[in-house]
Subunit: 535 residues, 2 copies
């Protein structure tokens, strides 16, 4: 373990006339004698720790456990305890998302994750989406302070939850690593984030580095590190993600894609890292689809269609549920559909011919496809009923196809720019909640993911949190972060002429150029052959 | 100037799409471009400064003045102002004495002392002498906190005074250097100081280094440095004094003597520094003498006797004032006598034969010498009336001779230990208020100072303050401080066998070995010859 915090048990000689080194220097001497890597190192002590030494050291017969926290340039003693401490050396890894904030408590000696907690970001009070919060706080120091305070409160709630779960007060944390996008990091630091979304996108800081917990009003002993970012849209969460998957360490080229409201994309290896970001669209999180919803209780997260039951349905009128096999989060009745469900849905509709290559619904295929009024506009359009009262609309499908086209084009474009053939990409790391839950097969079917050997597509999960955890346990990664920032170069998709042309070509299922998706073509052929056999 | 703080005016390009570096990194880049010595340096920014950048930078058209403070290992931006700042870069140098605290505001660009203020240490509320305060706070965290608070309040009062005098808020200070003895430094840091006076003298810290102002509840922008000490009795005030007089820089051997309640002594050059400390005695500050007092309004600070008037007095009975020429602080009527006055007094009494070599009063010499009741004991003893109602007692004289013998023996012993002849000592730096005010000739006459060419005896003044100021203006002296601490070795006088024997030999005027004081002997001869001529 080479963690950002550590506890060290010291047995020191009691002071004598011959050896009356002061308590602080006595501890430093003992640390240097006990721990080889501290030899010759500059050591510091926080004023709080210094004040705690008397009468603690004497009462403990100079057998104490000291807590060390890395402050970016050296070790600082941030606490002392009597005897051998029974409290493990803990640290906190935080994924500071705009919607959810996840915090893990880690044992810095064993690397074990002791507990994890997640809550909605308290900032939501000031706006569901980041932009609303940014406008709320823009040029309004009191509002900004409210949002900063809400961010801190989110941390405090998570700390209370972790305390309940583990019995250990997270205030003991010797180090905290926070990975968040640029706006979230700004809010944690109490900085106006308007510049994140406004040209010329010159934010307040992209490399905040280490702060004392108290500087940020976080009641932790140790230092807090905020992951740096490369640009406004490529924040600390992405750099953390790169650390998590480690693609900068290999000679082999890989691709990292964090698919969420925004899509952040990195292609590269140990020699280069080409990065881009774009609005992959809230559609991916179920945000645009009319019955779409977040991944919560009752959200349809997986969809399968059965040809047999489809036929039966056509004979017997509308019997929804017999044609669609729906899996919901929590197993309750469906109340809406989330991102992974949408991908499955479109993939199944497409494979079963209910929508054509352009995504147009084919009403002749099923009685479940009907004209239906859209609540918001009052106008009618085609929609498919996937559960009584739940409709998936034509416009939803087209919107989602545009979204997936944007995502796929970002990948395609980035590879082209770097002169890389798709077969040369060793791994496609699909980060984020979407990447973790979406069915890879379905994502390939709709042309969102490339049609490559499925083993090369790696759902990488919450890489932002993983990267925070990894750094917490291995401070040598600070060097990697410098390397990553040095390698990264930013491509602005908006600035690219043929991006829109390419994207339009991708606005089909799976793509206007079907040859790019040989496995999908085969599936279609197989399904069509099966259908012919059964009819 | 190579000060611990600096202000730098930056003209930065406004952010554009092509150059949208964040505000923090933009300032760092500009600093590295503008200031050659910052190139390649690690730069930091306080959270407060970071938060102040927006909208300041934009409003100022990216023409700002940043304040930098040295934190011990690098520069930290601790503030930003619009345009070219009209407030000079200021720092505070502090002599944190147990009685008085002196603070200077310095212009860190010109080195000019803008103003100085001094007040009694608010700690006095908890005890006139350090020991009382130490016992008050020992093992009583609330009492310790009161004393810490009083120390901070002393700083705050001084800051208010400096603000009134200069019109500049000392909270702007980019750096503060504090030189105090070990107990005073402990109290400022909020540390129990009992160990300073109790065996085995293992204190809490001797090398506190740099703290943020806020860590110490000092409302200043920049970092606060507390001078380190070598041992409990050889604190930061002495190391600061050595920096002030610079004796560690020369090949020539010099002696540094800070004469106060305690006497701290250093002998050495650029190769070695031998140090010792001992109770020189509060007698030197007028503390033991019965009509003794601090150097305040009405204190007799200089005494001369006239042989003619002495004779006249013998004829006319007691006519005090005709034989003693007294100079008081503030020019008012005498109310007591302070250290420099006492040295003059004993020197004059001795030269005029009113006391003999042992310091015994010779009543036959003057009607001013009479038996007198000592208020405290109710017993009678011989005393000399130096002003109506003011008596200088036999026991005072003997007490003072013991004190001066201790001081002289410390010097003598230290030179012997280092194998140095008195003629090889280039300079005798006499530090402190006593050294500044005492008449060198009188101090030699009574055998307190050695009988050497008077030019080699240098009254060095408040070297603690001078050293603080010097460091504030030249951070390269931090390296000198490391050198000093490395060179210093501590001699405990108490541990020395023949120290008492030597001291007893020095308990005479000027010394039992009169040959050591040839110039005094000549003076006595001359006076005696003059007397013979006049009688």
């Amino acid at each position: 373990m080479n963690a950002l915090g550590r506890k060290i048990y010291l047995e020191m000689p009691a002071p004598s006339e011959e050896d009356n080194l002061p308590a602080e220097e006595r501890i430093f001497r003992s640390l240097r004698e006990t721990v080889p890597d501290l030899r010759g190192q500059d050591l510091h002590m926080s004023i709080g720790a210094l004040r705690s030494l008397n009468p603690l050291c004497e009462n403990a017969d100079w057998k104490i456990t000291v807590s060390l926290s890395w402050n970016g340039s050296g070790w600082e003693v941030v606490g002392a305890e009597r005897g051998k401490s029974k409290i493990p050396a803990v640290g906190l890894a935080v994924d500071l998302g705009s919607t959810s904030v996840i915090m893990r408590m880690l044992d810095l000696e064993t690397g074990e994750c002791m507990s994890e907690a997640g809550v909605y970001n308290h900032q939501i009070r000031f706006g569901e989406d980041i932009l609303t919060r940014i406008f709320y706080s823009r040029d309004q120091p009191e509002h900004l302070e409210e949002i900063r305070r809400a961010t801190v409160d989110t941390f405090l709630e998570l700390m209370r939850m972790l305390q309940r779960k583990t019995g250990i007060d997270p205030q003991n944390a010797l180090s905290v690593v926070v990975a968040g996008n640029t706006a979230m990091t700004h809010f944690l630091l109490g900085l106006d984030a308007f510049s994140v979304f406004a040209s010329p996108y010159a934010v307040e800081t992209l490399q905040p580095g280490f702060y004392r917990g108290t500087d940020l009003e976080l009641p932790v002993r140790g230092w807090v590190y905020c992951y740096p970012g490369l640009a406004n849209y490529l924040g600390g969460d992405i750099v953390s993600g790169l650390v998590a998957v480690g693609l900068y360490r290999s000679e082999k080229i890989s691709l990292f894609f964090d698919v969420g409201t925004n899509g952040e994309l990195v292609v590269g290896n140990s020699q280069f890292l080409l990065c881009g970001a774009g609005a992959a669209g809230p559609a991916l999180e179920g945000g645009v689809v009319k019955t779409g919803m977040r991944a919560a209780e009752g959200a349809v997260e997986a969809v399968r269609m059965t040809p047999d039951q489809e036929k039966k349905t056509e004979e017997n009128g509308i019997l929804p549920g017999s044609v669609f096999h729906l899996k919901t989060i929590g197993g309750s009745s469906p109340v809406g559909i989330c991102g992974s469900g949408i991908v499955d849905m479109i993939s199944e509709l497409f494979l079963h011919g209910w929508i054509n290559i352009q995504g147009t619904l084919q009403p002749e295929k099923s009685g479940l496809i009907q004209r239906q009024k859209v609540q918001e506009t009052g106008e009618e359009e085609l929609a498919v009923c996937y559960y009584p009262g739940l409709w998936f609309y034509q416009s939803d499908i087209l919107e989602f196809i545009r979204t997936k086209a944007a995502a796929a084009t970002m990948m395609e474009y980035m590879l082209d720019v770097s002169g890389i053939e798709i077969q040369d990409v060793a791994r496609f790391y699909m980060a984020g909640s979407f990447g973790a839950h979406v069915d890879v097969e379905s994502a390939v079917n709709i042309g969102m993911y490339p049609d490559v050997e499925r083993g090369r597509i790696v759902p990488a999960g919450n890489t932002s949190l993983e990267g925070a955890q990894k750094l917490l346990l291995d401070r040598s990664l600070l060097q990697d972060i410098r390397q990553i920032l040095g390698l990264m170069s930013y491509v602005q998709f908006g600035a690219v002429d043929d991006f829109l042309t390419r994207m339009r070509a991708a606005e089909a299922l799976p793509h206007t150029d079907a040859e790019r998706y040989p496995s999908v073509m085969e599936k279609l052929k197989a399904l069509s052959a099966q259908k012919e056999r059964t009819t």
